[in-house]
């Protein structure tokens, strides 16, 4: 029994490694880097203060030199362990110093390891709120708090999505609605509440963290989902790709994402700690009819 389980595990790791190698072998989709497009980066589960977080931050700085993203969405667990003033320096201000001084704005959502009071930390730009919204160009962003998804927040999500007139509706938060990582997997309790609203009001793309891997999910009810929770933490070999859901995954190294919304297309790249593009592609903006509420 144990032997069989061990063999299955080894097989899963092998498939995962082969899948990662296959992704790396493909020619990456380049970001168009158009002027006037919406450009941003995504990081999740980053705030360890350890070397890999700094190395990912260095890659972000390198990327910023050629692809000048305006802001970074933070997918939660922005800070692990102590959260005293010095921790904010070591785990946020120092690694991202170059980006901060270049005027890149960080837009955080909180995870289960974050202090609730971090909503008041000015560089997170949360305005003291657990959940909030903002627009960039043709895109409406909603940063949510899935650690405590209460009725009030659900009502706010519904109203905000209903009233949003932008072409793109993008939601991000910590707990993934779809994930095929072994440690946590999908947060189904949150999914049964949020997904009906997302499909009803035409959300295009969702970003999450929590599982310390990268995974791109095949469209679910017309919505694209990304898990990007390895910008500091990493669970190597934790992916068990599910052919019905997993479009691409990478669990061999830390990673972050670059995203560009240009007209009716969203381009993305997932980049590893060593600077390799581990996944990339382009998503056409869905028409309402493609969504199945």
């Amino acid at each position: 029994m144990t032997l069989a389980r061990g063999r299955n595990r080894a097989l899963t790791l092998l498939i995962s490694a082969v899948a990662s190698a296959a992704i790396l072998a493909q020619a990456p989709q380049q970001l168009p880097n158009r002027s006037g497009s919406v450009k941003f980066a995504a990081i999740g589960d980053n705030g360890t203060g350890d070397k890999p977080e700094y190395e990912i931050a260095d890659q972000m700085v390198k990327a910023h030199a050629i692809f000048a993203f305006d802001f970074v969405i933070m997918l939660g667990d922005n800070m692990y362990g102590g959260q005293r003033p010095n921790d904010f320096v070591q785990k946020f201000e120092k690694p991202y110093a170059a980006l901060l001084s270049a005027g890149v704005k960080f837009q955080a959502s909180l995870g289960n390891h974050d202090q609730p009071s971090n909503v008041n930390y000015p560089p997170y730009n949360m305005g003291g709120q657990r959940y909030y919204t903002y627009t960039r160009g043709s895109a409406r962003f909603l940063a949510l708090d899935t650690t405590n998804m209460d009725q009030k927040q659900l009502a706010w999500v519904e109203t905000t999505l209903r009233d949003a007139k932008e072409d793109w509706k993008i939601c991000y938060f910590h707990h993934p609605l779809y994930s095929n990582a072994d440690r946590h997997g999908a947060s189904v309790d949150i999914r049964v509440r949020l997904e009906p609203l997302f499909t009803k009001y035409g959300v295009n793309v969702v970003f999450s963290g929590h599982d310390h891997v990268y995974e791109r999910i095949k469209p679910q009810n017309g919505i694209y989902y990304f898990v990007s929770g390895a910008a500091g933490q990493l669970r190597k070999g934790n992916m068990s790709p599910n052919p019905a859901e997993t479009a691409a995954s990478f669990d061999q190294d830390q990673s972050f994402m670059l995203v560009e919304i240009a007209g009716d297309e969203m381009y993305f790249q997932s980049i590893s700690r060593t600077g390799k593009i581990v996944d990339s592609g382009v998503i056409p903006r869905q028409k309402r009819a493609e969504m199945t509420p």
């Binding site: 289960n112 974050d114 202090q115 650690t147 999914r191």
Partner: protein, 390 residues
């Protein structure tokens, strides 16, 4: 009588015995919780869809009757023969309860920070909960029925839960509580209950429908948990002159209003408890992180230590511990009182919305059930209660 009908009558004879056993030993709640755990971890989509659909009816309506029956036990225990009569007897456990609630609450906040999940700190009132039914059952097993620590622990539990209910109301995040208007509506509901009592209305239905209904609306409108709607109404129901004892069922022929209320609602309340376990205990095991351990460790260490500190302060002030109750009995009693179960799960639902926080704290409540075997082991090691040297 045919063989088949004899078999059927045999089965039908077993049903009331089995149902009585199930109710007396509070088995429906753990059964509901166990089904929830299995269901949530095997077919999560259907589990969460089903439980979300019925959660309001279960948590905010059906559970009203469970808490009404708990209130009934407390009200009756203020009558002659009850553990709360006379009131001076309650002072020592009440003072002890301050320690037994403050220490686990502070420990919980500290522990979840150390376990790197400071967000769970908002759930500190859950650490105050004591499951009165289970506490009574286990205390009777460990100390035997007439040991003075049994009523002491019940009083401690009542006081701890009362502090807990207030704390939940104070600590609820993101609730725009409308206290003034709600208090006005509640005052009308209480006035109706008082008038019904004054005019010697014996049926419990007018109390339930008119006063209880308005009270439920007052809680709901105030955005407080309407589960507690009957708590301020039950004390107005006329009750027996003497208390038959904590969790002693009213006799079938009882005529007083409160006993008739209990006889009518005890089975529906247990069914509500089953669904309460089913709706609230379904926790995805993959959602759990180290912070889950914060609550069980806080209550299993904090309750006995807090109880010792609280009782120590009471003794220093000048109160006397009951006969045959020393530090060893209090230590074991603290482990018994650490089990929050039904009340703990209720505090979770009242404080936290669906999501990881509630999952972790609810699992912490379930893990605090370890207080039961730990109390038995501690009693054996410390030679107290049924394990005392004769």
């Amino acid at each position: 009588m045919t063989e088949h009908s004899r078999d059927r009558s045999g089965i039908w004879q077993v049903v009331p015995v089995a149902s009585r056993f199930t109710i007396e030993h509070l088995i429906l709640l753990p059964i509901g919780a166990l089904i929830a755990l299995v269901w949530a971890n095997t077919e999560p989509e259907s589990y969460y869809q089903f439980t979300y659909a019925i959660s309001f009816v279960v948590n905010d309506v059906a559970m009203v009757f469970f808490f009404a029956l708990i209130t009934k036990e407390v009200v009756e225990s203020t009558a002659p023969g009850g553990v709360l009569h006379p009131w001076r007897r309650t002072m020592l456990p009440v003072i002890a309860a301050v320690g037994a609630t403050a220490v686990p609450a502070l420990l919980h906040i500290e522990l979840v920070g150390l376990l790197d999940e400071p967000m769970l700190g908002v759930a500190w009132p859950v650490a105050l909960a004591t499951d009165l039914g289970l506490c009574y059952l286990v205390a009777r097993i460990v100390f035997r029925r007439h040991h003075p620590l049994v009523p002491f622990l019940l009083l401690l539990g009542v006081a701890s839960d009362a502090i807990g209910f207030f704390s939940v109301a104070l600590a609820s995040p993101d609730t725009d509580v409308r206290l003034v208007g709600g208090a006005g509506i509640l005052a009308v509901a209480i006035a109706i209950a008082a008038a019904l009592r004054r005019y010697k209305v014996k049926s419990f239905w007018p109390y339930l429908i008119f006063a209880g209904g308005l009270s439920w609306y007052a809680f709901y409108w105030s955005r407080l948990h309407p589960t507690l709607a009957l708590v301020p109404i039950v004390p107005f129901l006329p009750h027996a002159a003497r208390d038959p004892g904590f969790f002693v069922d009213a006799p079938e022929g009882a005529k007083d209003t409160l006993s008739r209320f209990e006889l009518w609602w005890r089975y529906p309340a247990q069914i509500a408890l089953f669904f309460f376990g089913l709706v609230n205990a379904g926790v995805s095991l993959r959602a759990l992180e180290p912070g889950t351990w914060g609550l069980p460790i806080a209550v299993l260490f904090g309750k006995p230590i807090g109880l010792l500190i609280g009782a120590g302060v009471a003794v220093i002030i000048g109160f006397h511990l009951p006969h045959r109750v020393g530090w060893r009995e209090l230590l074991v009693g603290g482990l018994v009182a650490a089990v929050g179960f039904s009340v703990g799960l209720f505090f979770c639902t009242a404080l936290l919305a669906a999501g990881q926080m509630r999952s972790e704290v609810s699992m912490g409540v379930l893990l605090s059930l370890a207080g039961v075997p730990l109390a038995l082991v501690a009693a054996k090691l410390l030679r107290v209660g049924r394990f005392a040297r004769s």
